[in-house]
């Protein structure tokens, strides 16, 4: 299958970044439609679409939208998670820079459906260009009466604010993100079933809907053209509908974002992005650094879909797809992955705070040529003690790549530990001199 551009149809067109250009291309039709609809009817369309969260977990979006109290007793908040930090992912950045009105309209639709009073877009601090594009779009939407008091004369009020982070991967986790908006250190909170869901007690203990940028950007299309129409895309897969943005990087000819229909194969995605450069395909990390690494054999025939990728031994994740050629040393690559999680662990839960540092220390001694017999087993033991034992998914995400790589590339680890050097003949320079 080829690219299927829905969200990205007008990406790169400067006119689409102005409110006039956006309306000319069919923008805000969904909002006008939604203002005439029952709130529940909007949520039903999201349900019919089969849309699942695009941030990485793939949770059905309509359940969140439907989870906010229908009888409103407190303020309701709509939060957009634009803290894109997963290594390998850069789709939300392009969405905000090139299709900012899709996000504004999508969040406004959520505001209407869930009786939201205010929306917060939490953008990571480094994404200043994206934040500027969002600021311009929000200002134009206010001026044209699409935000603020009495939207389009409907009597509905909805304010949209931008809140920037300040450098923390952990803040991409929803409870940590909300802590960060509330002016705290970005640490996760206890989760359901030990604590209420954000849709009941989120920001300031008030009902909060929180979705990824890409998820909100899908909403205008679903409301405008209907959930059933949206669900026709990706119908060949078990339970994945619509399109998905993949950020392809690494050793490929044309790195960039590609929008594909679920059901496309991983090799087709590689072909779209210009094929391999510098050598043959050795490994692929298909969904951001947190997902298990795949060998070339595993990639062959892998179909992109939430369940299908699980079957192939990895995950769709956030769509940060890194292709690596045969000059890449997997041990060194995993060492750097472990370092990322060790640096970014917020320090709240002991298994993650300590475990990520231990994994890094062991991998570092292997990479420096001082690996000891049994290090591989020790690493596996640590991963089993982090996985599932922390408040949020960072611990799991730190454990999976290490455990996954040892499982599919055991010979690389054995060779490195035994010989103090990489199995790859002349590897790329991937460690500090």
């Amino acid at each position: 299958m080829a690219e299927l551009k829905l969200l990205f149809e007008h990406a790169g067109n400067p006119a689409y970044q102005t409110i006039e250009g956006y309306i000319a291309k069919g923008g805000y039709q969904a909002l006008d439609k939604a203002l005439k609809m029952e709130r529940q009817a909007i949520i039903d369309q999201i349900k019919a679409s089969g849309l699942r969260g695009r941030g990485g977990a793939g949770f059905p979006t309509w359940i969140k939208w439907n989870g906010l109290p229908k009888e409103k007793t407190k303020r309701h908040h709509i939060v957009c998670n634009a803290d894109e930090g997963e290594p390998g992912t850069f789709k939300d950045k392009q969405l905000m820079e090139e299709t900012p009105f899709l996000l504004v309209e999508g969040m406004t639709l959520a505001g209407i459906a869930c009786q939201g009073d205010a929306g917060y877009i939490y953008i990571r601090g480094e994404f200043i260009d994206a934040a500027k594009a969002m600021r311009k779009a929000i200002d134009e939407a206010y001026a044209a009466g699409f935000l603020g008091k009495n939207i389009r004369g409907s009597g509905i009020d909805f304010d949209l604010y931008i809140h920037l982070g300040a450098g923390s991967y952990e803040c991409g986790e929803e409870s940590a993100l909300m802590s960060s908006i509330m002016g705290e250190r970005g640490m996760p909170r206890l989760k359901f079933p030990h604590a209420p869901l954000p849709t009941i007690a989120g920001l300031w203990d008030e009902p909060t809907l929180i979705n990824n940028v890409e998820t909100f950007c899908c909403a205008p299309f679903i409301v405008n053209k209907g959930g059933e129409w949206y669900a026709t895309m990706g119908a060949s897969t078990k339970n994945s509908r619509g399109t998905k943005l993949f950020s392809v990087s690494g050793h490929v000819g044309k790195p960039g974002n590609y929008e594909i229909e679920f059901g496309t194969t991983l090799m087709e995605l590689l072909e779209m992005s210009g094929g391999m450069t510098g050598g043959k395909l050795k490994a692929c990390v298909p969904g951001g650094s947190s997902v298990p690494i795949m060998t070339a054999e595993m990639c062959d025939g892998a179909i992109i879909g939430y369940e299908e990728m699980m079957q192939a031994g990895s995950m769709v994740g956030s769509g940060g797809c890194m292709f690596l050629n045969d000059k890449t040393c997997i041990v060194q690559f995993i060492w750097r992955t472990a370092m990322f999680y060790a640096v970014e662990s917020c320090g709240k839960c002991t298994p993650c705070r300590e475990g990520t540092k231990w994994m890094l220390q062991i991998l570092e001694r292997i990479v420096k040529g001082n690996g000891q017999p049994g290090d591989k087993e020790l690493l596996l033991d640590i991963t089993s003690q982090i996985d599932g034992r922390s408040f949020c998914g960072l611990g799991d995400a730190a454990a999976w790549p290490v455990a996954g790589a040892i499982k599919v590339f055991p010979e690389e680890f054995d060779y490195y530990i035994a010989n103090g050097k990489s199995i790859v003949g002349s590897p790329l320079p991937m460690v500090p001199a």
Partner: protein, 233 residues
């Protein structure tokens, strides 16, 4: 890398309340007031407040900068310091140079040659990661994924990304930055403050299409009366 995961370098003491000299400009005070209308309590103003402070105090969040932010928000010094030291983009560990060169060495950049880029910069500037050149012009930092992996190897200076970089493009960039009067560190903090504020909220900005919200309570008095429920995990 050891610089990034080094545990608690000791921090200077908080200034005594009687020694506190307020340095925020009138614009900064107006910006903070406008920002606080976005949130129900003053605590939520800590992150944007710290961005204002980082700009007003020349790119470094000194204990004085943190104390003033805390005072203006009606929060305690410890609370604001705790937040500031958590986030990597607040410069609390040490004073930084006029420009910060942030080199991404994470995954895609790693496999696309970030370490040779980092080595080149270290040699050229004569500093290690975390170091500042003697003339106070450049600070070199290693950062985690900047999420523009299609442009690997990538660096960030101020509010701009540059990539893919090579030795030649780095030479040109450093030369350009050395001639630049304005500090990109301060410029970045200012950009971040500005994107928080709608055009009708900016001090001296365009007439409002939205009625200007009532000003929040004076900074010295804590505006939050919410009882914070502590997690008892």
């Amino acid at each position: 890398m050891s610089e990034l995961i080094q545990l608690g370098a000791s921090r200077p003491k908080a200034p005594k309340p009687e020694d506190l000299k307020l340095q925020f400009s009138d614009t900064a005070v107006a910006e903070l007031e406008a920002l606080l209308t976005h949130y129900p309590d003053s605590k939520s103003g800590i992150l944007p407040g710290l961005w204002i402070a980082q700009r007003e105090y020349g790119g470094y969040l000194s204990p004085e900068a943190i104390a003033e932010t805390a005072f203006r928000l009606g929060r305690s010094y410890a609370e604001v310091e705790g937040v500031a030291t958590f986030y990597s983009m607040y410069n609390t560990a040490h004073k930084v140079g006029k420009h910060m060169i942030e080199v991404c060495t994470c995954l895609t950049c790693q496999v696309c040659g970030a370490y040779p880029v980092a080595e080149y910069l270290k040699k050229k500037l004569g500093v290690d990661f975390g170091g500042t050149t003697e003339d106070g012009m450049f600070t070199l930092h290693e950062v985690e994924c900047l999420n523009a992996c299609d442009r690997a190897p990538l660096i960030q200076v101020g509010d701009q990304y540059y990539g893919p970089v090579n030795e030649k493009s780095l030479d040109e960039l450093l030369e350009k930055l050395a001639k630049q009067d304005e500090s990109t560190v301060i410029q970045m903090a200012d950009s971040i403050v500005q994107v928080h504020l709608a055009s009708f909220e900016k001090p001296g900005g365009q007439p409002a299409t939205k009625p200007k919200p009532a000003a929040p309570a004076p900074p010295a008095a804590p505006t939050s009366t919410r009882i914070r429920v502590e997690e008892t995990s």
